[in-house]
Each structure stands twice: as structure tokens, then as C-alpha cells.
Symmetry: C2
Amino acid sequence: MDEKFENSVGIVETRIKRVVDEKETLKLVSGKTLSCVDVAYETYGKLSESGDNVILVCHALSGSAHAAGYNSLNDKKPGWWDNMIGPGKAIDTDKYYIICSNFLGSCCGTTGPCGINPKTGTPYNLDFPLITISDMVKVQKLLLDKLGIKQLLSVVGGSMGGMQVLQWTIEYPEFVKSAVVIASTSRLGPQSIAFDAVGRNAILADIEAGRPPHKGLATARMIGHITYLSQESMREKFGRVLRDSDKYSYDFSSEFSVETYLNHQGQSFIERFDANSYLYITKAMDYFDLERDFGSLQNAFARTKSKFLIVSFSSDWLFTPGQSEEIVNALVALRKPVSYCNIYSPYGHDAFLLEPDTLGRLLNGFLSTSFEKPKLDKIARYEIKGIEKIKRLRVDYELIESLIKPDSRVLDVGCGDGMLLLNLQYDKNIDAEGIEVDQELVIKCANKGLDIIHRDIERGLEHYPDKCFDYAILSQTLQTLKNPHIVFKELLRVADKVIVSFPNFAYWKCRAGLFFDGRAPRTKQLPFRWYDTPNIHFMSLKDFDDFCEEIGAKIEKKIPLIGNRLSPVRFAPNIFAEQAIYLTSRK
Amino acid sequence: MDEKFENSVGIVETRIKRVVDEKETLKLVSGKTLSCVDVAYETYGKLSESGDNVILVCHALSGSAHAAGYNSLNDKKPGWWDNMIGPGKAIDTDKYYIICSNFLGSCCGTTGPCGINPKTGTPYNLDFPLITISDMVKVQKLLLDKLGIKQLLSVVGGSMGGMQVLQWTIEYPEFVKSAVVIASTSRLGPQSIAFDAVGRNAILADIEAGRPPHKGLATARMIGHITYLSQESMREKFGRVLRDSDKYSYDFSSEFSVETYLNHQGQSFIERFDANSYLYITKAMDYFDLERDFGSLQNAFARTKSKFLIVSFSSDWLFTPGQSEEIVNALVALRKPVSYCNIYSPYGHDAFLLEPDTLGRLLNGFLSTSFEKPKLDKIARYEIKGIEKIKRLRVDYELIESLIKPDSRVLDVGCGDGMLLLNLQYDKNIDAEGIEVDQELVIKCANKGLDIIHRDIERGLEHYPDKCFDYAILSQTLQTLKNPHIVFKELLRVADKVIVSFPNFAYWKCRAGLFFDGRAPRTKQLPFRWYDTPNIHFMSLKDFDDFCEEIGAKIEKKIPLIGNRLSPVRFAPNIFAEQAIYLTSRK
């Protein structure tokens, strides 16, 4: 076997299934109908006996059913997502049964404008009816029905594939156990519509003039490619390098290597893609608008039953992190199970194909914990490592656990690797949600099957409704925030009770240090130097008491602590406590 | 008079001057030559007797010589920069004599591809030689020579106009007293080249097919317009609103209002602009590359004598703030007089035409202080207002002044409204530079004629060479920084001596407050509450002594202070001083 087949699904065949025959009609959103609809699809892995391991992969604009492996021994390149789908890979073919189908309107096997119109016996071309993402998903569902699939473990898709995923969760809520939406949006903004429109204009100008729309399609593809890359990645990839000279040619040839690259992309696209399909697909993207269809994003997601993973990439300016956050905010406001990670990447929108490591670890964790609930290793449960060790002490964890009632809804703000939430899930059967700013810790939480939102808490919690949690936890984090008072007040709004723990700056060693030594104090709880400490606010128990009084918070319980002792400090706690845990609520 | 003529230069005439006659030749950078070169230009205001009030305005891609006023009574719109040029406006026609000329290669009066080739008697079209920014500037200089202009008070230009400004300062260093470069760059990045190339491709495809290049030019203009706006401003302006229906049309017509807008922009551009000019001008932009021409940006600016003002806009993604900063960094490294402001604006690249208030105040201050050195009002000199009052105490100012030797080079980091630097300029004749993060304070400094860089000091000083200042001042700022140790070490690198002042956290009232009261101390110097204080690090004189020892800094002078007394605290300063000023240097 060729070494290209290592970790590959090997040779795969693209199959065609007729999902609407000549006697049936498929009703489209536009009101038009279609007969004789064929769907091209590929499958990888084995269907389990109970049929619980099916993952549907939805492709993007110019993709096809050929997502992994090779269609023939001579193929130079594997399928478009081969770095994610295969034995032992993130979407593991040893474990899951994966289906990828070409969507309606495309030109890679499924019925589209270049297919034969049964009424005329000639290709549809521009007589093909306009289609929508919803139509595409409907056709995918017909395929799954024909294949006898009863439920999807997950629907996964990037870019326009993510739009299909969102539509799936809304139209077939019972059918979709989990959903992964990568670098996508619930609706394009005007800039993306504008780029699409310029590309279509170029194609339509050719068609109107009676020319084959080659130049137009190439122009559209060139514009597309610019939007798939980030400025940073373009600078790195091309810079201002000239193609084959170090001198300017002083003519209008393509002399910068970025020009040559785009020309090549445009030309090779003409050879493999149909200009009419490009018109229909971009229009379907422009039309996709869940806010419009349902009145609001929250309405759109109101009846979904899936567990969501939303992923964006930091440098993606076509489908921006902000657009992913809109989806996350709507789901969060509905208290639907959702995780979100904004992966740091320089590769722009293309990152969804180019970050197999980070994206892979995230996806792998999310899919496998969706498949099987993870087991908690009782021994490992309180092993807290590295920076976590400094941030939280074991005693802090245990006492916080003791304050929380079973079966409650808990938000852990700055939840780290998620150990506290995981323990609470096992011991108290809580409904858990975490917020964490560090990408690697977010991935760790996702691998524990936790709902985790990748966010800087100081950017606000305005999308959470009032009182949507029973408890919010802010463990050893308050003193590291820029605006601790704003965050604390917001937590009092979104949760019935807020549990907060922080080091006591009026602990006697601190007082003595400053009073007698005249230096910024350093203790076990405050081990940093004045200039490199993450603790940028200092408060004592008295300060915090005053603060609660001032903002109208009720202190329900106050547990001053010293060392690893679980029993509270009773005498002069503002002097003898090293840290404290407060249980507070709104008056 | 029509009310549109209020604050307007009124009716102006575009004149034509032949700067290269039929017997002369203009040698171009490409090696080709031109004869019979005409230049279209307009002037506003009056030339002063000494000729010291001339401002040259350079226009952008699709601009013309008609920058202000009206060419006829019936004109609906004034010149392209009428909101900046006029009586009492930022570029004040009551004070200055302003010249704006159409550049070589354009189609608005100056010789270009649509002009007549004297050799053939027919239009040049694509026989016109390729031109560069340097060629354009050469032709502008020929015009000024013909007009008898001996020196420019300033050259001002935005976007591609800014490229011409940069070229002016390099090619005619003695001629240009000051230079204003707005939303521009020393070289386009690959993304901008790519957008230009796609536009040119569309035009050239028409030309190759023997068609009038209307569709191509419209495509190019549509792409251009997308890049001039920000995503944010497009969302605000267009959203996803449909042109004239609330229902999708399910066809390929332009139904989103952003599509209609772009179509309109494309169509109206065809009527007023020449496709060949578009090819030549965008190519001149692509070719502009000061790094390439001179080996490095620092080499490029090595012999400039102008005072610079560089302006960028926060949401400009075509000519990014980062690109402006590259220019600033090169000038800063050469210790050339330069000011920089990154104006907060949602309008993208177009902001250079749409922010007359902010840009106007900045420009007005820079131009008037370039024209006349500002006078210091002796009474007002120590009147410190608002937040400044909290940040700096008078005594702090006076003592810092006393530490600085006359005629030295001084960097004030976090310089506020620039009062300290201004006083030092008058009293000690220093060479001053300020760094400030607040936009409004930056504008205030520019209005005092100070060299001021708009920057967050925590982003680093790596572009300043070692020991390029005699003194760096960090007055009441150290404790507000995220990484005070990194900033302080950098200052020790760039300056011979660093003067730093900060509140003493071990002042007896602080000690007593914490020790006896058990609360985060509040004093006159530390008046904030624990949660909303800008002071995120606390250190005592002893802490700072230890720190200097640790990083190898020498304390040359230490002035512990109490209240408004100018005399230092002699006894137990770490207890009795409220604040301290240190004069430090590298060991």
C-alpha cells in the first residue's frame, strides 16, 4: 500500500441515490418544485448495530461528497477534510459511521443547474429553481431516510456547511443529538453579500453577453479566495514578492506572486466548477437568515434539542467570531447546552481546513463525550496542577461544593480545566456551565463533556437572562479582574446566589508585612511580587462586607479560612483568615 | 448668495498649466518619456508676501484638482474635501494658500492615458507609459516651479494622496516644512494588491475581448467600495435590508440594498472615470514601495527634514493603523519630528473624508503650530484640570523639571495634555516627545505643537533605539501599568536616565489603615476604592529600591515627598512620604 493511505479511509466510492423519483415532487422554499433528484454521497466507517454512531458531514460552497480518502489509486489529493476524518482522527472512522453528501444545486453529482431537466431533456442551466439552505437540508434528510438512518449522533459542518448544521437542528430537533458549527453564521452581513454579488455580477455579465462565463467565474473565485485568507496569512504567504523577476515589468501582466496565485485559483476553478452552480449556491448563502425566518435567533433555536459546539477562528473576517458569538448568545439566553471556542489562528476563514490539531482535539472531545458520558476518575478528581494550584486551593473547592444544593444550575466563571464543575456534576447532579478565557483550558473542559463558553468575562454577561442560574461561582478570580464590581453585580443578576472566594488582604501577615517591613506583602496566598502579580485589586473581608452593603448584596454565609483547614476562622476573621468564601444574593 | 456658499471658498476655476512642452521630455521611472504634459489645478486662499503659507493637497485614486468650493453656480456638490478646506475650516483659506493638482495619469484634466499622444494625434489609451507615485510628484513639483512657489508649509494627503506626501518629503526634503499623511502606507500589502489585480483583470478582460470596459470598470469600482467601508459601517448603512420588497425575489436581480448601492456606484463611476486611468493609477499604487526603493523605511526617511503628522483610522482595513505605525516607527527610530494619531472611527478607509471634526482639530493644530510656534501662557502653565489633577500633582511637575538639564532630549510617557513637556520646552529648550494613549489628549498635545505618539506604552518601545533620549519620564503612571517592570526596563534602555514618580503605598496612613482598620487604604494620593482604582500595582519606596537592585538600575536621586512641599522627606521616608520621585539610570 502507498504511504498516502496511512491513517486514511483508503479507496472510497462516490455513490448516487435517487431521493425524489420522476413521479414525486420536492417542494422548494421558493414555491417551485423539482422531480428526479439524485444525491451523490460517500460513507466512511461502520454503522453500529444500534445505529447510534452516525455523523453527517456538511460541505461548503465548492466542496463535494468526497470528504476523505481517495476515489482512485491515482488520485494525488485526498478528500477535502481528510485531515479530520479517518482511523484514529478527530472524526474517528474506527468509532463512527460518517456520511457526507453533495448538496442540492452543486455540480458534483447531486442534482443542480448542470443536471438534466426531465421536462426538456436538456440541462437546466438558469431554468433551475432558486434553492435555499433549508432545501438542501431537506434533500439530505431524504437521503438519510433512504439509507435507513434513524438518528444522528452529530451533524458537523464548516462555513456554509455550518449553515446546514444550524438548519438541521431547527428543522429536525429530535433527529440530531449534537451539532458542530464551524466558522459559520446565522446570516451573512452586507459585506459578504456584497462580495457574493460582485462575483455573480461578473458571471452574469458574461452570460448576458452570450459568452461562456469563464472570466466571470474566475473573477468570482479570485474575490472568494481573498476573503478566505487573512491579511496576516497573505503577508506571510506572498508578501510583495514578484513572480519571476526582481524588477517591475512596467506593464499590466500579473507580476506579483499573489496575482499569479489568484489567477491560478481562478483558472483551475473554471475547470472543475460550474458557473451556474456558483450563482445558485452563493444566492442560497445570501438568503440564509434565521433571524428573518423566525423573527429572532432565540425563536429559531427555541425548539432545538441538540448539544451545540460552535467554533470560530480569531482571524476569520468572512464569518467572524462576532457572528459565531451571536449564535452562542442566543443559545445561552435559552439555556440550551452549548460550548464555544474561538480558536486562535492566523489562517482566516480557511482555518477550518488548516487547524487539524486544535480543531481536531476540540471536535474529538466533543464528539466522544456526546457519544459516551465520560467517567470520573475518583482518584484524579482533586489533582489540580500548575497555575490551577495557585489559583484554587483544595479546601476552596470542597467548601464551595458543600454550599451547592443538588440538581441546581451552576455557572462557574473562570472555571479553569472544569474539575469543580465535573465533580459537582457527579456528586450533586448539577446542570453545569463554565466560562473560561484560556483556549487550552476550554478544550480541556470540552473533553470532559462540559458546556464551556470561551470568553473574557469582563466583556459582559448581558446575554444571560436574569436569574437563569441557581449559583454563580467566582473562585479566586475577583481580585484579578479589571472591573470586579461590574462583574460581581452582573453575576448577582444572572444567578440566585453568587459564591465568591478571594484572598484576604488584611490577613495579619499582610498587615504586619506592610506595617513593620514597609513592603508589599507576600504570603502563601499572595506569593507574587508587586509588579508581576495577576492580583490587581486588593481587598479585605471588611472591604468586601462594605462593598456588599453598598451595592445591596446580602451575605448569606461567610467562611473565613486559614491554611487547609475546612473549619472557618471564628475569632477576628479579618485578621486571622487567609482567604474567605462568601455566599451572597441580591437583597 | 446661496447658503451652500457659507463657509465655502465659493466659485473656483480649474486651471490648466503646461509643465512640459513639446520640446521638452519628462523622464519617467520606467525609463520611458513624455512630452506635452498638462496639469489641472485649483488654488484657494491668498499667497502671503513671504510665500510661507502654501499647502499642497494631494488627492486619492478617483479624486481631482477640485478639492473645495464649486466650479459653477449649478454644481450640486462641492469639491471632494470641502469639509476640511475653506474660511475658518481646518485647512483655513483665510490663513493659507492651498494648491490641489490633478495627478499624472488621471482623467480629470492632467495628462493621462485618455490624453492626446503628440506623436500620433490620437489618445494614448494603453500606449501611455506606466507611471509611479514618484513621477506624479515630479510633475507636481514642475507645476509649483511654474507657479513660483519656493517652499511648502505643508503637503497633505489621504490614502494614495498620502503616498505622494511621503514621496515629497523624501525627494524634496528642503522644500517641505511639514507633511500630513492620512490613512496611507509606505507600501500596499498583498491583500490590497490582490483587490487591485482582480479589478484590473475585469477591465482587461473587456479590453481583450474588444468591448468597451464598462462592466469591468464597474466591477473594479464595486470591489473598491467594499474595501473603503468597514463591516461595521456597512452593517449600519445597509444591514440585510431589501431594496423594494420585504420578500425574496428568488431570482438573480439585485435585491439587497447593498447590491443596489454598489451597482449604482459602479454605474456612476463609468460615467465619470476612464477605465485606462484606473489601470494606470492602481498599478502606480501597487508599485509604490519605499522599503524596496531605499532598502528600508529608515533609509527612505534618513534625509527628510519635514515635521510629520501621521493619521490612521481604527476601522480602516485597507490602509491599516498597523501600516501607519510602520511609518511612525521608522521616523521614531530616526528621531525625526513626528506625531501620530489613530482616530477612533467606525467608517473604515472612507473616514478620511467623513471625520471632519476629529481630523479637523488635529490637522488645524498641527498646521497652525507648524506655521507659527505657539506661545505659552505663563499663568495657565500649571493649571492642571480634571483627571490630570489626580494623575499629577503640581509639586511632581516642578521637581521633575528641576531634574532635567537644558537642551536635552526628553520622552514623557503618558504625557497627558503635554503641559510638562511644553514647560520644559520653554524653560529648558528641550527636544520633546510624548506618548499618550488617550485620543483627545493626543489632539491637545498636537495643538501645542508637541511631537506626540498615540500609543499604549504596554505595546512596547522596541522601535526606539538604545539611549536615544537623555531622559524618560514616567510620572504617576507606573502603578497603573499591567507590566510595570517591562515598561521600566525598556525606558532604561531607550533613555540615559529615567525619572519615575509614584505614590508610596507604605505611607504611614496606608499602613495604619490596613493595620488598624483592616481595609484597603484610601488617602489623598490613593483616593480610589479597591474595585475602581486605576492603580493596579502597589509598591513602597523599599519595594522600588529592591526592584532597582534586582534589575540592575542605579538610583541617582530619590526625592520622597509629602503634601505640596517641595523639600524632600528626610526622616524615615518609607513611612512619612506620600509619594516619591526617583532619578534612575542603568548601572
